[in-house]
């Protein structure tokens, strides 16, 4: 029984790790956002596993997952708005060319 929980937690951990790699190694804003999406997906897997296997009576767990899904959608919307504005300003959304945004 605990094996199922461990499988889910391991998946969440590995997804999170891949997301961290993606968010840190990519130079393009959209790819970085993909890394963040993977991180949030890993977190959601863990949350659902905890709800299902440890506290199935308390629906705050599912509420938290809904909030994380909302955050994913909102972050994508605002991120793409910023990407459009940036692309319109200098013609690329690469992080390597974003020195002027520093500080």
């Amino acid at each position: 029984m605990t094996a199922v929980l461990i499988v889910a937690l391991l998946t969440g951990a590995i997804l999170f790790g891949i997301g961290v790699y993606g968010a840190l190694s990519q130079t393009n804003l959209v790819m970085i956002m993909m890394g963040v999406e993977l991180m949030l997906a890993g977190a959601m897997v863990n949350l659902v596993a905890f709800w299902r296997f440890l506290h199935p009576k308390s629906y705050s767990g599912q509420m938290f997952v809904l909030v994380v899904m909302t955050v994913m959608a909102v972050e994508m919307a605002v991120g793409f708005g910023v990407a459009i504005a940036r692309f319109r300003a200098i013609g690329s959304v690469e992080m390597e060319e974003a020195e002027d945004l520093k500080g």
Partner: protein, 178 residues
């Protein structure tokens, strides 16, 4: 239990496989759609863990969101087809290290912690939806309303940032800055 563990492992491997494919392929649309199928696998994991509403919601939302990501990749990337063979990464060793550390820490916690008794039975799907609705509009009403207002603010902010700035030229005509 055995079947659940098996399907969870299958969908988990699918999610991880597609997740790795996101960053290994050089075609941008393939990258976005690989992320889509990774999220779908995560949604299927939710279904296997008997949270039907969350699973269906995840599958539905991620299809649309990742398709939007696909078109933005095509709009903004230099080489959306991926046939040019460019390497679009930086600080590779640091990020691999960070990824391994993050995953390793989470795995260590998962394996070493004592999680207590694991519940075998889950509530029925219809009852879950009902209880989630009660939770959403009862105890967590403040969270629900805040999320709603946050979404509205994000919509307005994203639209405001994305529309082109309109300046007045010297002779009073509106001109759009490109």
């Amino acid at each position: 239990m055995g079947a659940q563990a098996f399907f969870l492992a299958v969908f988990g491997l699918a999610a991880i496989g597609f997740g790795v494919a996101v960053f290994r392929t050089s075609s941008m649309v393939r990258s976005a759609l690989a992320l889509l199928f990774s999220q779908t696998a995560v949604g299927c994991m939710f279904l296997v863990m008997q949270t039907e509403f969350l699973g269906v919601l995840q599958i539905m939302m991620m299809a649309t969101e990742m398709s939007i990501m696909a078109i933005f990749m095509v709009m903004f990337m230099m080489d959306p087809g991926g046939l040019g063979g460019m390497d679009m990464t930086h600080q590779k060793r640091f990020s691999i290290g960070a990824g391994v550390v993050a995953a390793g820490a989470a795995i260590a916690v998962a394996l070493l912690a004592d999680w207590g008794p694991v519940t075998v039975q889950a509530p029925a799907a219809a009852m879950q939806t009902r209880e989630l609705g009660h939770e959403l509009l009862g105890r967590s009403m403040l969270i629900f309303e805040t999320a709603g207002v946050t979404i509205l603010t994000a919509m307005i902010a994203a639209t405001a940032v994305a529309i082109p700035v309109q300046r007045l030229a010297d002779n009073g005509d509106k001109e759009v800055s490109e």
